[in-house]
Amino acid sequence: MRSRLAFLVLLVVPLRAIAPQGNPRSIAIDERLAADAGLRVGDRVVVASEPGLPGDTVVVAGIVQRRADPAEIARGEYRVRLHLDHLQSLLGYGDRVDRFGVKTRGAGSTGDALSRINAAAFGFRAHRSADVAVETSRTFAVVSRFHRAIGVITIVASAIFLLCIMLLKVDERRRDVAALRLIGCSTRTIVGSVVLEAAAVAVLGSVAGIGVGGAASWIVNRHYQAVYRTPLRFSIVTGDIVLLAVALSLVLGVVSGWLAARRLAHTAPLTLFGR
C-alpha cells in the first residue's frame, strides 16, 4: 500500500502564470482548466487554499483529460492534482488523509485487503471500487430504466404501425395475387414469396436504420461532448442493440408479411378480382 497522487477537488484562487523560481513542486490540472486559463505544461502558477493567502509556486507537469463519468457532467469546478504531502501542507491538515485508493493484484487479494484495512483501526471503511461505482450510479440506473421504458413503448408503437403498413402494402397486391393463383401458383409459393420479400425489406430497413442510428448517435455525441467538454459518450450503438433491431425488424416483417399473404392466398381469386 502506498500513497499516490490524491484525487481531491481543490479551490485554487488565484491562479496565474508567474516568473520562474527554484525547484517548485509539480501539479496536474484538468484540460478544462488548462483551456480556460490558457495554461500549458511547464507553466508556473501559484496555488493557495484560500483567496488572498500567499500559497506555493508550482509547475504544471501534466494536463489530465476528464474521465468519461456521468457524475461529472454537471460539475463546473476545475480539478487540480497535487502530491499528497504537498496537499497536506497546503491545507494545513498535517499527516492526515480522508480517502485513498489501493490497487490490488486480483479479486482474491482485494478481499484480503478489505479485511485488513477494515480491521486496522476504528473508523476505517474500505469498499471495492465496483461497489462504490454502483452506489454512486443509482441515479443513472433509474434514468436508464426510464430510457428503457420509453424505448420499449416506442418499439411497441412502431411494431403496430409497421404491422399495419405491411398488411396494407400486401393488400395492395390482391390483383397480383389473384393473377398468380389463376396461372396456378400454389398458396405456399405465394406466401413464401411475400414472406421472402418482407424479410429482405426488413433486413434492408434494419441496415438503413442502423446507418441512421449510427449517424444520429455520432451527432449527439459530438454535440454534447462539446457542450459539456467531456469524453463521455452520450449515445452508444452497441452490437447487442444492432442485433436486437435486426431481429425485431425481421420478426415483425416476416410475421406481418405471413399474416397478410396467408389471408390473400386463401381468398378466392375471383373475390380478389372483385367479382
Binding site: R175, D176, A178, A179, L180, R181, L182, I183, G184, C185, S186, T187, T189, A268, P269, L270, R275
Partner: protein, 223 residues
C-alpha cells in the same frame, strides 16, 4: 377429335342476400381439340361465369365438367390450382403481369412453379417470347412495354406449360384497333399451330376469326 371441354348441364347460382341469381341455367358445351371457340353475348349473359368454370376457378352449382378427360367440377382448391398450372392457360383483359419481373421472368413464372429446371426454363421462355415476337424485349419490364406487347407476354406466359386449353377473357379489350388486329392474328396462328382456344369477347373481329361462335343470353347458349 377428342373433346377437351365436356360441359354438361352446368348451373351456376349466386345468392345475393335473399335473392338467387341464375348466372348459368344448364349450359352444355363441347370443345374439341384444336378448336377455336368464341363465346359472345351481351353483358351479364353468363359468358364470363362460363369461362370461370372452364378455367376451374369457380365451381358449378350443379352439372358436370371435364377438361382434357379429367372431372374438374368438384376439385379441391389445391388440386384446382395445380390443374390450372398444368392444363390451362389464362389470358386476361388487363394482362396481370408481375411488374417487378422482366418479360422473360414473367413467362418463366409458371414454369418455375411446375418445377422446370433453370436452363430449360430459360430456353422455353425465350422460345415462347420468340413465338410472340418479343425475343428482343426479354429484359424489359411490363412498364417498359406497350399494351400489345404486354398482352403478347401474357400469351407467352399462358402457353408456358403447354396447356390443353387456352382461355382468354376479352383479350383485345384494352388494346387499340391496330394492336387488337395483331392479337387476333396471333390467336389465329396459335390455333393453326394446334392450341385449343376458348375466348370470351365483345370484339366482333375477334369473334369472326374464331372457327365457332357460341352465342349466350340470360345464362343459356342459344341455338
Amino acid at each position: 377429335m377428342s373433346a377437351i371441354v365436356d360441359a354438361r348441364a352446368l348451373v351456376r347460382e349466386y345468392r345475393m342476400g335473399e335473392e338467387i341469381v341464375h348466372a348459368l341455367r344448364g349450359v352444355s358445351l363441347a370443345v374439341h381439340e384444336r378448336e377455336y371457340v368464341a363465346i359472345v353475348g351481351p353483358s351479364g349473359c353468363g359468358k364470363s361465369t362460363l369461362l370461370n368454370l372452364l378455367g376451374v376457378i369457380d365451381r358449378p352449382t350443379t352439372g358436370e365438367l371435364s377438361i382434357a378427360g379429367e372431372r374438374v367440377d368438384r376439385l379441391s382448391d389445391a388440386r384446382a390450382t395445380d390443374f390450372r398450372l398444368r392444363r390451362i392457360g389464362f389470358v386476361f383483359q388487363r394482362f396481370y403481369l408481375m411488374q417487378a419481373l422482366t418479360a422473360r421472368e414473367n413467362v418463366e413464372l409458371p414454369l418455375a412453379e411446375a418445377g422446370m429446371a433453370g436452363t430449360e426454363r430459360r430456353d422455353r421462355a425465350l422460345d415462347l417470347l420468340d413465338y410472340v415476337g418479343l425475343r428482343k424485349r426479354e429484359r424489359h419490364r411490363p412498364s417498359q412495354l406497350s399494351g400489345g406487347e404486354q398482352q403478347r407476354v401474357a400469351i407467352a406466359r399462358a402457353l408456358a406449360n403447354r396447356p390443353a386449353l387456352l382461355l382468354a377473357d376479352e383479350p383485345t379489350g384494352e388494346l387499340d384497333a391496330y394492336t387488337g388486329a395483331e392479337m387476333i392474328a396471333l390467336f389465329e396462328r396459335l390455333n393453326a399451330d394446334g392450341t385449343t382456344i376458348v375466348v370470351v369477347t365483345h370484339d366482333e373481329d375477334l369473334a369472326r376469326a374464331a372457327k365457332r361462335v357460341v352465342h349466350m343470353r340470360d345464362g343459356e347458349i342459344l341455338g
